[in-house]
């Protein structure tokens, strides 16, 4: 298993806990009321969720976001409306507060227009990596202040949805490069975009090929196998892993089908219903991201990815993953050996070279 990632063994295996004696209570005490207290506190504070969508233009990213959250996060971009295609990759973030049944969710969606659109797409993942690391950096800076805030605002990217164009063949080199680099920093969920251009059989074949690709290149997408806690998690997550990447279709227009009002895309040969499992797997994506694994996404980001970043930072490494706007700290003193980070390494980044664990006396 990747030595960098520690599996968050959250349940009974607490190494630092003292000897405990199990005790039987003779009657009702009221301890379970603490769950209600938790709920009240959570509802009062509200939740935060940050999602990033990455993919080439025209794959339906903005539409997908609108469909996921059933609101117009932003206008779906269409060419010819006076919006110039950006020449370089620029990230745009939009934050909204949405509320459902008293639960407030502060949602931040980061879009990446211009990804993979240039002729030479070398290092087009750098701004994205830079952005993600910058969020980690902000959080770290807040966390190591002496007088810190009661609740540190969480802008770290919890999930990155990667849109794979529906070629039907294999993952492209750009996809593989990007996924390799990103799956170590953030939770990545790949999806097959615009899946209405593939038949069901083509979809299955494509999916298998992609899964093979991912395995060959050692790319671990969310839900990662190494973080499965107990047998229930394993079963649940294996089912999900079988279906990754989901073949999704996004739509924000409503049409009437059989008397019902559904979200879908209307074509001459029929209406593709977004919420219909027989048509596309959008409900699976939505359930994964929102209904069942949202808290888990946040937990893994906080306990694993952020901690890895922190270890990397506090080990006095001054070579950081690139991106504009990075502040290089003062060079290390001569007595401390500078680690051989990935300088201008075009080859596939080796796991060991990414964050060498320097022997640290004060560790």
């Amino acid at each position: 298993m990747d030595p960098l990632r520690q599996s968050p063994s959250r349940s009974s295996s607490r190494a630092s806990s003292p000897r405990t004696l199990p005790c039987e209570m003779l009657g009702y005490v009221g301890i379970e009321a603490v769950l209600d207290q938790l709920k009240i506190k959570a509802m009062k504070m509200g939740f935060e969720f940050n999602i990033m969508v990455v993919g080439q233009s025209g794959l339906g990213k903005s539409t997908m976001v609108n469909t996921l959250f059933k609101s117009k996060m932003w206008k779906s971009t269409m060419p010819g409306l006076g919006v110039p295609t950006p020449q370089t990759l620029q990230l745009q973030s939009v934050t909204h507060v949405i509320e459902e049944s008293g639960v407030k969710l502060k949602l931040t969606v980061t879009d990446t227009p211009g990804f993979g659109d240039q002729i030479n797409n070398d290092k087009c993942w750098d701004p994205i990596l830079g952005y993600i690391n910058e969020q980690y950096e902000h959080y770290l800076q807040e966390e190591i202040l002496i007088t810190r805030q009661r609740h540190i605002p969480d802008t770290r990217v919890h999930c990155c949805v990667y849109f794979v164009p529906p070629t039907g063949h294999w993952l492209r080199p750009l996809d593989i490069e990007f996924l390799q680099r990103l799956c170590r920093t953030v939770n990545v969920v790949p999806v097959i975009a615009r899946a209405d251009s593939l038949t069901i059989e083509e979809r299955e074949a494509f999916r298998h090929r992609i899964q093979e690709n991912l395995k060959t290149h050692g790319i671990e997408v969310y839900p990662q196998k190494c973080f499965d806690e107990d047998i229930n998690d394993k079963i649940l997550n294996s089912k999900i892993r079988e279906r990754i990447p989901f073949a999704v279709v996004g739509a924000d227009r409503e049409h009437i089908v059989n008397g019902r009002c559904v979200l879908g895309r209307k074509t001459k040969w029929g209406i593709i219903e977004v919420e219909n499992m027989a048509h596309c797997e959008f409900p699976l994506l939505r359930d994964l991201l929102i209904r069942s694994h949202l808290q888990d996404l946040k937990d893994i980001t906080h306990n694993v990815h952020y901690e890895n970043y922190r270890i990397f930072r506090l080990n006095e490494s001054h070579v950081l993953p690139r991106g504009p706007g990075w502040v290089n700290l003062a060079p290390a003193p001569a007595s401390v050996p500078a680690p051989a980070g990935p300088q201008a390494n075009p080859g596939p980044p080796k796991v060991g070279g990414w964050a060498k664990d320097n022997s640290d006396e004060e560790c």
Binding site: L26, G30, A33, M43
Partner: protein, 454 residues
Amino acid sequence: MSSEVARHLLFQSHMATKTAHMSPQVFDNEEKQKKENTRSLAMSGHVGFESLPDQLVNRSIQQGFCFNILCVGETGIGKSTLIDTLFNTNFEDHESSHFYPHVRLKAQTYELQESNVRLKLTIVNTVGFGDQINKEESYQPIVDYIDAQFEAYLQEELKIKRSLFNYHDSRIHVCLYFISPTGHSLKTLDLLTMKSLDSKVNIIPVIAKADAISKTELQKFKIKLMSELASNGVQIYQFPTDDETIAKVNASMNGHLPFAVVGSMDEVKVGNKMVKARQYPWGIVQVENENHCDFVKLREMLICTNMEDLRDETHTRHYELYRRRKLEEMGLTDTGPENKPLSLQETYEAKRHEFYGERQRKEEEMKQLFVQRVKEKEAVLKEAERELQAKFEHLKRVHQEEKLRLEEKRRLLEEEIIAFSKKKATSEIYQSQPFMTPGGNVRKDKDRKNSSFM
């Protein structure tokens, strides 16, 4: 979807896109833009994130809960019994002695489970509190213990490779301070102890063995206690009143502080039920009867309503205060000498620089010292060697002289031997000529000479 809502949504999305396009694509302005972009958005359908609190709760159930109670009070005031009664179980049996020379703290951890909630409960008892004749050192061990737990958590948090989600949180979440039911006022020891603890832990004062006071006396006692605490500036824990669902209950409970409690695990038959009570010849004091004592209130407040808030306060207020003090003590600040915000990272590194420099210097010093010592030792050894050499020479000379003298003596001896043998030879020659010389006397003289010589 009504056209109104549609128009509203469209308007909102238009605003959003406008600001999104207008936002400069530079990262440091992103934060500002984010703040301006945050607006409420109405959804057109059911998304499903109302399950979020449940997801959170499920994760907490998986992790389990941790709660640590510190009981401070004199020996025999009823701390263990009250805890037993609170959690409806028998934790520990034996009574502690009154003759400990110092105050110690004893911690015990128990695992309780109610339906699907697992609670790791740690009870810390003060042993020997208030027993000594000289009580000056009584509260220091308690303060030290609380600080030690904060310190342990801080150390874990500052580690480079840390595992906070795995960490068994031993910080004290609440301190139950037991006041003896004298009916008069707070003892000085109580005041001092509470004053030194109030900034480190949530204090809930309780009047122990409340069945020793009558109702009217109890009222007066409570009022006296609260006014004494207020006038001495002791900050006890106030139940939170910011959330509407529990604000009313908490506010009324705040008025009942300190709770007058009675603890008992013995069951007595009252009416047709067995209830926990203490039986006296003049009556039965029922623990769970609100008219008799405030036990139920304490249990409600401590466990059912405010456990989470107690943990939260400990983490966000008391722990942060400790952390801030500790870090400032270590000389780390948030702003550098030119009043620019200096990150902890940079001061951390600067300190590390300092330490390295210090260490280099010390190494140099030690090296010098070592070299010097070696030189000294060498000098001493050389001196010793020279001395030995001198002695050796001297002895040699002495021996030479001795040898010469002996040689001399030997030569003399040999000469004498030769002379003697010569004489012997000549005397023998003379003896072999007895007739030739008339000197019979001569012979006799010669014999005499020979015999005397031999």
